[in-house]
């Protein structure tokens, strides 16, 4: 920050004001924009543009072979009034998000908090171990073996050995079980980027605050957690919330890999798998776009809600 030593000592505010108008600032601003440019281009092209075209297509009938035909709001009407599968998908997705989102989020935090106590080497190893399911991409497929409906599948085999069941349980095709199985696997996979950011955030809390707190009368760990740790981790908590809970609305890969596509009786259909089904299998890309716009709206809304809650918790201005 430059301020000229001129006629007397200027206040920081005056200096800042002058800087804001100066050539230097404009040059810095221009450089900043230039550095952002590649990302902005890619972002507009691959994210903003598809979103806009989705919104547009949501109002049409488009089978990907012929040009789109305008339909008005018919797709949205159909979505809410005429599509049982969509409503089931919506309920499944909400159940998913409500259960795996916060649980995943909290477990990220708890694990990060526990690991924080350990010496750095051990901490790195453990971080790696917990993060591995997310990096490895498709390792959750092993759960298909564990939950296999073959009488020699892992869980079925063990239960039969113990004499608890006679016929193997079809975990992945029986509507009674499949949603719970997928939620379990999702939670298992939930130690993702939020986890990493929490670990970083915990490390960066200023140690002096703990000392000050100890002096000021903080009696136990819980108080420390609520009065010092959490408020200092505002940005990480928000980031984690967006990543974790936002992502839980778009569960689809795991559902497809485990329960099949489509799942029995749509027991494990989520909004995203429904979109994929409608768009790719049924050639109704217009309707699929309408659903995806709706999903987008839900996620925006949730994001907004979460930030406000977190603002309150962390008292972040």
């Amino acid at each position: 920050m430059h301020y000229r030593r001129g006629k007397g000592i200027e206040t920081m505010h005056q200096a800042a004001y002058k800087y804001a108008l100066s050539k230097g600032k404009r040059r810095d601003t221009r450089d900043a924009y230039l550095m952002l440019l590649p990302f902005l281009l890619l972002f507009s092209f691959f994210i903003v543009l598809p979103i806009l075209s989705s919104i547009f297509l949501g109002f049409t009938y488009f089978d990907m072979i012929q040009m789109p035909q305008f339909l008005g709001v018919k797709n949205y009407v159909r979505m809410f009034l005429d599509d049982d599968v969509f409503l089931k998908a919506l309920s499944n997705t909400v159940v998913f998000a409500v259960i795996t989102g916060p649980i995943g989020y909290m477990s990220c935090f708890i694990f990060a908090w526990l690991i924080n106590e350990l010496p750095p080497r051990v901490r790195s190893v453990l971080t790696f171990i917990f993060y591995v399911p997310t990096i490895s991409g498709s390792i959750y497929i092993m759960w298909t073996y564990i939950f296999s409906g073959d009488s020699y599948g892992l869980i079925n085999g063990v239960l039969r050995n113990l004499g608890l069941i006679n016929k193997p349980i079809q975990f992945l095709t029986d509507p009674k079980y499949v949603l719970s199985v997928i939620m379990l696997v999702q939670i298992w996979m939930s130690l993702g980027t939020a986890f990493l950011s929490f670990i970083a955030g915990l490390q960066n809390v200023d140690k002096q605050l703990y000392e000050a707190g100890a002096i000021d009368g903080i009696r136990n760990r819980w108080q420390e957690l609520f009065y010092i740790t959490l408020p200092s981790m505002g940005p990480q908590l928000q980031f984690g919330a967006v990543m974790q809970i936002g992502a839980s609305f778009s569960v689809s890969q795991i559902a497809i890999a485990l329960a099949g596509f489509p799942s029995t009786d749509n027991a494990a259909t989520t909004i995203v798998t429904h979109i994929m089904d409608v768009g790719n299998l049924r050639y109704e890309m217009g309707y699929a776009s309408a659903i995806s716009v709706f999903l987008f709206a839900i996620m925006l809304f949730t994001n907004f809600l979460l930030r406000n809650i977190l603002r309150a918790v962390t008292k972040d201005d």
Binding site: M64, L114, G149, D150, Y152, N166, Q170, R282
Partner: protein, 946 residues
Amino acid sequence: MRRIRKISAWLMVFSICFVLLAQARASGEGMESFAAAEKSGSAFSRYTYEMYISDNGDVPKGAGEISIAPDSYVEATGPVETDEEKGITWAEEFTDIVYEVTVDRDSKYAIYLEYNATAENTMFAEMAVLINDELPFDGADKFMLRVPWVMDLEFRSDSRGNHLMPAQRADTAPVSAPLADSEGLYNKPYEFVFRAGTNRLTIRAYSKGIRISKITLKSPAESIWYAEYENAHKGKQDKAADKEIYIDAEKPLRKSDSSITPLYERGSAATEPNDPVKMLLNTIGGDKWQLPGQWIEYSFDVPETGYYRLNLRCKQNLKNGLPTIRRMYIDGEVPFEEAESLAVPFSIRWQMLTAGGKDQPYWFYLEKGTHTLRLEVATGKYGEIARNVLEAVYDLNALYREIIMITGTSPDIYRDYDLVKSVPGLMDVLESSRKRLQAELDTMVAAGEKGSETAVIEDLLVQIRDFQKKPDTIPKALEFFRSNISAVSSWVLNLNRQPLEIDYIVFQGRDVPDRKAGGSFFSSLWYQIASILGSFVHDYNVIGDVYDKNDSLNVWVFSGRDQAQTIKQLIDEQFTSQYRINVNVSLVQTGLIEATLAKNGPDIALFAGSGDPVNLASRGALVELSQFDSFEEVSKRFYPSAMEPYKYNGGVYALPLTQHFPMLFYRSDIFAELGIEPPRTWDDLYKLINIIQGRNMNIGMPDIFATLLYQNGGRYYNDDLSATEFDTPAASNAFTQWTEFYSMYGLPLTYDLYNRFRTGEMPLAIADYTFYTQLYVAAPEIRNLWEMTLVPGTVLEDGTINNTVVGGGGQAAIIMHTCKNKEAAWTFLDWFTSDKAQADYGNLIEARLGVIGRYPTANKEAFKLLPTSVKLKNIIIEQWERVEELPQIPASYYVSRNLTNAFRRVQYYYENPRHTLHIYNRYINEEIKRKREEMGRYALSQRKGD
């Protein structure tokens, strides 16, 4: 609090470590197959070659050679022809040809046959040998005579510099081979015992297509050790000290199997020849060269007589933990005993293997002139290890079967079975197996091999020891016992697979320095960079020459590279030369619709899934085919059922390329044991269920609803395809019958057919007819023990049996509406679906991929020209004539989906089948109605032939 937190954190650490260690200890192969190898023929009588030899240990080796003229047979069960050179050929499969062999005293001889192929596409012949009308030992019925193949050694390139796979054919020159074990368990040729006097020697030919020109009985030569060889050639003249003989491995003189083809290797800068961007054929082998008995032979010129050592640039990165073995022959003879098993250890990099090791390599003494070098897959000392482990596995399996006869497969854990008393010999078998397994384990450990490879055996040993200490825990641990045994026998069967990829072979004189296997750091770096940059410029999806897109046909192949290359090869050889139309072939996986939308799509798509044509046609994306002149003729090539899924609105939109349908498979040995016949009707099947399940076995029943429906006289849709006909009695009955298989009769819902059929746990199953190729290739130990027949039928009022089955879909060829030259496109489809093109394609692709690549063509005549055995062809055609196919409508996916949902609802919620079908039928018809409205209102009208 801090302490508690610390403790809990460390607890977490320890529990993770514990879990990881427990995982490592757990059965290494547990996740894979549950195959138990029944080494021999019938499950209950076994007489291995080892037993045969030890029973006849006192019989001396035969003296001299006995030559038998092939035309001197005394009996033959089928027509046998003799040609001028006294060789014989036979016209039918399963022909027995009997000779008489007279010897003065009891002797052992190996049998050498000289044979050659009679047709250009013969790949091998299967034989059995009987002595005095009996199979001397198990395994004498599984000889495989491999017919060598030769290929063009000049590799041609396409217009972009990529090598094209060379043409190949069977070598009609005779080759001599002894009858030996084809599974890698015995390293020397079999020796047969002939008693003093006259013996009958029967050669039972299972297949035809070869000609035998000589039969010789002689004892295999005694082999010498390298020390003796070295002595024998000591001090000889050495003019070769600075000479190097270079042999390009991808250009063999001949090879034992057509499927051993050159490979494209683009990963290493030191491969010769190489190019970072173009695809060059520069290595050979890999996983196509791994079965015992497969060999590759090279011809080379020795410039000067002298001592040479052998170096091989090779890669063994497929068999972790154990080395890969090769046997080498120079001029048809193994020079010394050590050359029987040259071992290549595992490494992810290319290595330079020196025969004998770098410190003390073997020196081969080669005279000036032309010689041949043959490298053959062998198992070395692992053959014996495998044999012994298999013995133990066999005994343990028999023990397991005896145990489950008493306890069942899910024993009651609260009951005391007292197995020591009720299973005779329990402890003895456990002890003898343990000793055997321990001995083999020790052998391997002593040789330095430990780790994941031996873990399976260790696990089984641990379990056996536990059983010996506490026999009453056996019932509880039965499941794990079984999977441990399976894991070990799987291990053995995989033991004899020895993949190896080689780049070049050099014989080097004493003064020539060793070559390095890998390139220098900088050359590798440059190579990788060039490779990446090149991938932006070079299109790897287009196969072969590329022509101007606008004036040639663009064909997309939705399959693998082998398939696309073979199609391109056929096009170059047959289509373009005849019709003068250029064709671009591209290899794709998905994206047909997107590309067509972007006007970047192809003219023709090959191997599209059977559900796609109607979906595309109803939206105006395809060209209707019945408008073309030769359509009538072309459609006669297929069974009428094959065209059914491709009809829409009165037009036909695709031509079938492949067709699948189910057939009944059963284990003839187990059926013989149980004294039952394969079921011809469903009633027969119900009677069998009791018997089979009573022995703790089961039956494999896939989705058979459509077949049951059609056999009951019902069908999926009504005449104008506007609604389903599931509300009829026929549909209700079929659906109920189908669900009752599982809910009432306890047939399994999910099962691994391949493994269970192999172990005999599932001796009867309905599966797609192509399952037989999998059995053929991957279940050699039950080769002659299974049969295929028609799917059970329904008895009609007049007493006849309706054996209709509903096909399982297939793949098709379509013409996209964006195609500019539709006549040319039709000409292409006409050509590709013709009898000759389909048969050639099938034969070529099988030659490339092996039996597993057998092509399930939809063309009736072409099927007859494929190398399937006559017996199987007949039964397959019999079923094929009774195949119906389901019509496809735009809402078809919804029909199958709801049928599955209805089925599962009945299974999991125990609901009434009739009622459930009725409910889901309503959903189906609603969707059909919606789709028809959608198609009517929004889709453009069909364009017929613009």
